[in-house]
Subunit: 115 residues, 2 copies
């Protein structure tokens, strides 16, 4: 009796291809700004809002902070004019580097639709 | 009686040596963040507060934005613990470059003594 396997629990091929980077699961409305081109992140933000998200949080550290500001500005000036910067938080995180712990600045920019 | 000059309100020699860049006169409590080492700006902010200024505004454009956040964080974490980030504004400025006008992001971080 050949049982049929329930294909539901199988991992998707996409998930198998990239097991290297293990990120902690982020909230759906958070976009982490890294070293990719600015427009990649702009597109991610627009996609979030088009899916009906009320507000989107941009998070960045270190040198990526300026890019996060670029993303916020380009998104609201060129693509989603109703968008408002609802809050900006800055902070400091300790990062373990090769020569011990160093501090790195962080930023969180909360974008939301204007009311 | 060779008094040492307080040199506070006078132009420093360094300021005279570099007349090429013509900046509009800034308010006393504004610190423009550029490409110098972070600690230079931290010192400038501390000096402002020690002269009795109620709040200090850090202004930066483009890639210097991350440095402005560093200055704010280092100043309030290491040197002036009572300091609060009172407001953060982001914006866009048009800059005339070699290939026409380009947009650059700006930031203003308002630091003040906590009440």
């Amino acid at each position: 009796m050949a049982e049929e396997k329930p294909a539901v629990t199988e991992e998707t091929p996409a998930a198998k291809e990239k097991p290297a980077v293990k990120e902690k699961p982020a909230a759906e409305n958070v976009v982490f700004i890294g070293i990719k081109p600015v427009m990649n992140y702009v597109l991610a933000v627009i996609t979030q809002f088009n899916m009906g998200t009320g507000d989107v949080i941009l998070k960045a550290r270190g040198k990526a902070i300026s890019r996060a500001v670029d993303v916020a500005e380009i998104t609201r000036n060129r693509f989603l004019q109703g968008l408002k910067v609802q809050n900006i938080l800055i902070g400091t995180e300790e990062v373990q580097g090769e020569r011990g712990a160093t501090n790195v600045s962080t930023v969180e920019i909360v974008l939301g639709r204007g009311k």
